[in-house]
Structures are given as structure tokens and as C-alpha cells.
Amino acid sequence: MSSVWLPCGDYHQDYAEDQGWWQTTFIKAKMILLLAIIFIGMPVLLPGYYLSVATMVGYTAMGALGVQLLIGFAGLITLGHAAFIAVGAYTSTLLVLQFPWPSFIADWGLAYPISIVVAGIAAGLWSVLFGLPSAKVKGFYLILTTMAAQFITVDFILTQYVSQIGGRGQAFSLPPGIIKIGPWAIDSDRKVYYLMAVLLTLMVIVFANLLRSKPGRAWVAIRDNDIAAEALGINIIRYKLLAFFVAGFFAGIAGAFWVSNTAALSPEHFPWFWSLWLVGVILIGGVGSIHGAIFGSLFMVLVMEGLQWAVIPLAEYYPRVLMAFASIKDAAFGLAICAFLIYEPNGIAYRWWQTKNYFNLWPFSY
């Protein structure tokens, strides 16, 4: 193990160290501090409302990770991700509410965790179904296929068929206390936050490790030039479908998590707008890196919160602002995307990387 603090001049002695995500002690310390803040500091110090904002950031990041995989790492542009999140959410809800679990599972509180995994798999398979056209079409046509996935899944299948199962038909209502992991019922903001933190960390770890393994390299090759990748012997159909599956899996877990955050579930939670939002998130955060998804989520959620807080005092002078707030949010989102794409095409992650490098190389940053 090398013992320098800053990255310049680190000499690794074996392959495992060289491929490590955290390469120096300094970085290791930073990351452990970050994890401590996320898992210990924030829940203890922040009041409930801010924890729910953080949960929202986490949920957006979970969705954005799937989109980042497809767009940033595999080069498959997708505008229908909310559909797969919806599939995950509905699978999880239906399993928890309707499935006749044997009593020992229900008593031990394993129903929900099992449903999370099953939801992920179901969403992954559904995503592969709509990824099949990617074997034949590329670019714009793929976008349209994923759009079709969104409309068909959410607006049609879920709204008309799945919602009608049991219940009164439109929204599944989850009585509090039914979502349990082991002995703990997930019913307060703090517990939801913990669940989010655990799930998000696991997802990031899995994703990061996938990226530096064979599928990850294959995806990057496909993104850069898929015909050349095929010429080099990479089976592009297999890896494209794998990309859809993994992205769908992440989406399914995000959906299953969402279920614990809301008291009731209906198809309105997953409109096309949300798919576009996720793509916007990774564009603003930076395409092609895990940081991008997380920074993008942070930025979008915090800016929207800030707008909301700013509007309250403004509303006393311009009541119209409050009435039409949703349209202002839409317009602001549109402008933000355009502005970022025109002026900051590499996103926030790029600026972060630049800042980090500046300090890493200081005082030799010229």
C-alpha cells in the first residue's frame, strides 16, 4: 500500500491496488468521513423535513443511476425510465399487499426485502423486453421505442389493468406498518432515510464494480463505437440487453424504495415528465460518471426546493406566482437544461473534477 497523501507520485505494486477506487489514504479517509456523515451525522442532526429532502435526492439518484448506465456508459438513449421504476414499485406493492406469504416470512418481516429483489428482477426483465429493438435500431429510433415503453407501460398497462387488482382501483393504499424489514417498520422519515442510504450505497458499489469489470468495459466500447466493438469480438446484442437489464434492475429497486416513502401508489407517480427529469438530471450532473448522477440529483432537488422557499414571500406581492408555480417550475427546468447544455455541456461533475485536480496538484497546478 502506498503511503503518500496526494495522488501525484503514488506507486502501486499490484494490480488490485492500481484498479482500486480509493487509491490513496487521503481519499480513503475522505470517503469514510462522507459515509459517516451520511449514515450518522445527518439523521442525528437534521430535522425530519430535511431528511425527506435528502430522501428525495436519494430517490432521484437511484433512478438517475439506471439512466446514467444506459446513456452515459452504454450509449443507449432512453426516455422511458420512469416506466421501469413504476414496474418495480407496482411489483413490490402487489407482493406486499396481495401475495399470500407463509406466516413465518410475514412474521419475520421479510416480505418487503424479498419484494425489493423480486421487483428489481421484474423491472429488469421488462426493461429487456423493451430493449429488444435496440438490437435492430439505434439513436433516434431507440428513443422512440423507449418513449413507447413509457406510454404503453404506465398509461396503459398499469393504469388500466394493474391498478384494478384488488383495491378500489386507482391507488394502492399502504396502511402504515405493513412495510417492515425484519423487526423494524419503515414508517418515519428517519427510517426511510436510512433505507435510502443503505440502498443507494449498495447500488453505487454494485454499479462501480460492474463498470470496472468485463461488462463495464464492453459497454464503454459499445458507447464509443459499436461497430468497431463488434469487430473486436464483443457481442453487442448481449451487452446491450445486459445494460437494459441492469438499468431496469436499478429502476426496480428505486421503485420498490419509493413505495416505502409514500403512503399510496398510483400511476400518476411515474409520468413521462419523470423520465425526462431523470435524463435532465444526468445531463446537468455530467454524463458518463457516477458522480454525475449524484451531483445532478443534488442540484435539481435543491434548486427546486430553493425556488419553492423563494416563492413564499414573493407570493404576497405577486399571487400569480404561487398559482402558476408548477408552470414556473417547468419553464425553469427547461431553461436549466438548455443553459447547461449550451454553456456547460460536461455538467457539474466536470467542474468538480477540475476543482479536485486543482487542489490535488496544488501548488503545481499550472
Partner: protein, 413 residues
């Protein structure tokens, strides 16, 4: 160029945060929250409701608020997107409100377990009958007759007054078909009840047709209706789509009467549907804007004073509905405060559930809440648009006509 953009962004965000936090004022006042829809699927009726609610609270403060304490009413638009409603609810809870004026069936039912756990009185604009059973939803209330009561009343009124004049009266069963948005919790709330009532009265029931709340073109649904040839069509949506459906029915020659839920009939309906609206009947739990009922002058005066920018011809009966909910909350808070318990459970037990035949005027039935029954009214006035104005068809009292079923079977759905 890029640097400048970066600076501007930082300044804009900083400004936003600063002005935001300036607004969090601390004052000794009673906080009430509001979650409204002014831009979403039901905003055609939601905007007027939101304006009316604001005016109502301003007037209440002028009357001294709650026994001298002013009410600070903070509301947000959630655009009928349920995740937003949940976020706004959490925000309002953080701001420390003691009660919330809610809006749509979707979010009210979604938030219902949460408000019950938090013991937060939630006065909604959703009159879904699923919210009227105190055993399941003790903290959800509203002032008007619920949707199922409305639906049953409309069907009864049509059966009493229109069906006897039909040429096939006595020869066959009358035919009912329903047109509403399947996926909307609001529109689908009373369907089971109206079908049950229709079966009880001896109707033949046809297939439902799905009409989106935003629908502009309903010709294929009308063509499907034409195959069944209903005598009466129940419309469960809001005014926008109901008027489109009625226009298409008229254009395609569908010979059926129309009965409409209360959120589908207002002053805009004849404007949007034109001659197709002639003879349309609907549930009207309160008066139309400007009709000469008790306390209407207060509403009109407040509207003119607080929202001079909104023209009087554009005001709807939704303002009256907003006042209805605001007035019962005010009365309940006054009673709870006199009893010294201005908390969530206090407002419920010592406020709402002590209301017996409380009359707010405005053409609404007197309101009664009991600890076992949160249905405010026992029937509904059904009015129709005829000859250029709204006229009453019948004031149906369901409890009087079917007292057993009212008490025992019909609560809660």
C-alpha cells in the same frame, strides 16, 4: 462566457436561498395550510377554489380570526401530482400548521393514513364517500354531500322527474351508462354506489366509457355509447371534459339525458358546451356564484375586495365551495379554542364532531358531523340548466326515503 454564467448562477441561487429564508417568519398566529391544484388536471375548477379559499381566510381574519387570534393561511399548488402533494404536506407540517385545506381525491386518499397518524384535520375538496367513515378515516372531512350521495341523488331525481316523461316509461327498464376517467380516483369514487342505486331502482346498466380529465375528443366513446342507447349518462369528470363529451354527444346525435357530478357542473359548462348543455342536470351541494342565498353578499364583497383582478363573470360556484370548507373549519376551531384545546384531536372532537345542523347559508344543507358518521348532508339538491339559467329539479333526501340503507349499508363507499 462560461465564467459569467457560473457567477450568475451562484448569485441567483444565493438570492433565492436568502429571500427564501427571510420568509420564514415567527408570529403568534394560528397556521393553516393549503394544498391546491391550480395548474394540473383539475385546475379548471381548482383555480377558482384556491382564490375563494384565500378570500375566505382573509375575511375570517377581518372578523377577528379564531377568538381574536389571526389565521396565517399558507398554500401551495401541487398540480395534481401526488408525489408533490406528499412533499407539500411534509413542508406544511414543518411549518407547524394545525389543519390543512386539501383538494383532490387522489392525494386526500393517499395522505389519509398519514394524516390519521399525525392527527391532522384535513378538510378536502374531495367529497369522496370513502372519507366519511370515522372508523377508517377519522381526520378527513368536508362540508358538502359526498359523491356517492350526489350520484344517488342525481339518479333518483332523474328517475322521479325525467323518466316518467319518456316515451318508453313503463315498457322497459331505463338504461344507465357512465362516462368518467377510469384512472382518476375522483371520477371513479361514486361509480360503485351509482350502479348499486341503479340496480335497486331497476335500471339496466351499460359499459362504462373512459374519458380523460383532459379529453378534447370523445367521439369514439360516444359512438360506443350509441350502440347501447342509454337513456341517461352519468358524467364523473370535471367541467372541461364533461363539456367536451356533451358537445360530442350532441354532434353525433346521442339521445340521452346527462347527469353530472358536482365538479362537472358550474357556470363554465354552458359556456363551453353551448347548446349541448341544454337540459343537463347535476348535483349542486351549494349555490351558484351570486345567487340570492344567505351570506352570498359576504362572498361577493370579499371577492371584489381581495381579487379585483379577476372579473366577476368568471367566478364560479367553486368559490362558494371553498367558503363552505373554510367556514366549517373556522367554526370548529372557534369551538375547540373555547374548550381550550386547539390541537388536531381537539379540533376534531371538540370542534367538528360537535356540529349539529350547522347552517352556513350559501344554499348548502345544514352540516352535521357525529363521532360515528362523517357524512355532512343526507341528500343533495339537483339542478338543471334550462332556458339560460340553473333551476332546481328536486331536493333529494336519501335518508328520508331509504332510512335503513342510509344508516346501515351506505356509509363509507
Amino acid at each position: 462566457m462560461k465564467k459569467r454564467f457560473g457567477y450568475l448562477l451562484v448569485w441567483f441561487l444565493a438570492l433565492g436561498f436568502l429571500t427564501g429564508f427571510c420568509g420564514v417568519a415567527v408570529a403568534a398566529e394560528i397556521k393553516v395550510g393549503g394544498i391546491m391544484d391550480t395548474t394540473g388536471a383539475t385546475s379548471d375548477v381548482g383555480k377558482d377554489y384556491a382564490i375563494g379559499m384565500e378570500e375566505a381566510f382573509k375575511w375570517i381574519n377581518e372578523q377577528g380570526g379564531v377568538n381574536g387570534k389571526p389565521i396565517k393561511y399558507t398554500w401551495f399548488d401541487y398540480g395534481y401530482r401526488i408525489p408533490e402533494a406528499i412533499t407539500k404536506y411534509k413542508l406544511l407540517k414543518r411549518l407547524g400548521v394545525v389543519a390543512i385545506m386539501g383538494w383532490g381525491t387522489g392525494d386526500t386518499e393517499a395522505l389519509s393514513p398519514t394524516v390519521n397518524k399525525d392527527q391532522m384535520p384535513y378538510v378536502s375538496a374531495s367529497y369522496s364517500a370513502h372519507l366519511t367513515d370515522p372508523k377508517k378515516t377519522p381526520y378527513n372531512l368536508f362540508f358538502s354531500s359526498d359523491y356517492s350521495t350526489n350520484a344517488r341523488s342525481c339518479l333518483t331525481a332523474w328517475f322521479d322527474k325525467k323518466w316518467p316523461n319518456h316515451k318508453d316509461y313503463g315498457k322497459r327498464k331505463p338504461r344507465l351508462a357512465c362516462s368518467y376517467m377510469f384512472a382518476s380516483p375522483y371520477a371513479s369514487a361514486p361509480i360503485k354506489a351509482i350502479k348499486d342505486h341503479a340496480t335497486m331502482l331497476g335500471f339496466e346498466i351499460g359499459d362504462d366509457q373512459d374519458v380523460s380529465l383532459f379529453a378534447l375528443d370523445t367521439k369514439s366513446q360516444i359512438m360506443a355509447f350509441k350502440k347501447f342507447e342509454p337513456d341517461v349518462v352519468w358524467h364523473g369528470n370535471t367541467t372541461m371534459s364533461v363539456s367536451a363529451t356533451m358537445r360530442d354527444a350532441f354532434a353525433l346525435g346521442l339521445k340521452a339525458d346527462h347527469i353530472i357530478n358536482n365538479w362537472g357542473i358550474d357556470e363554465n359548462l354552458p359556456r363551453l358546451a353551448g347548446e349541448a348543455a341544454e337540459g343537463a342536470m347535476g348535483a349542486t351541494p351549494c349555490a351558484f356564484y351570486g345567487q340570492p342565498y344567505k351570506n352570498m353578499d359576504i362572498v361577493v364583497a370579499a371577492a371584489k375586495k381581495y381579487s379585483p383582478g379577476v372579473p366577476q363573470e368568471k367566478r364560479l360556484n367553486r368559490t362558494i365551495q371553498a367558503w363552505g370548507d373554510a367556514l366549517i373549519l373556522w367554526e370548529s376551531m372557534k369551538r375547540a379554542d373555547k374548550a381550550g384545546d386547539l390541537t388536531g384531536p381537539g379540533i376534531m372532537k371538540k370542534g367538528f364532531e360537535t356540529l349539529r345542523a350547522f347552517d352556513i347559508g350559501l344554499g348548502a344543507a345544514p352540516i352535521t358531523f357525529t363521532p360515528t358518521d362523517h357524512r355532512p348532508a343526507t341528500g343533495c339538491i339537483v339542478q338543471e340548466w334550462k332556458g339560460g339559467k340553473f333551476q332546481e329539479v328536486e331536493n333529494v333526501n336519501l335518508k328520508q326515503r331509504w332510512p335503513d340503507k342510509w344508516e346501515k349499508e351506505w356509509l363509507g363507499w
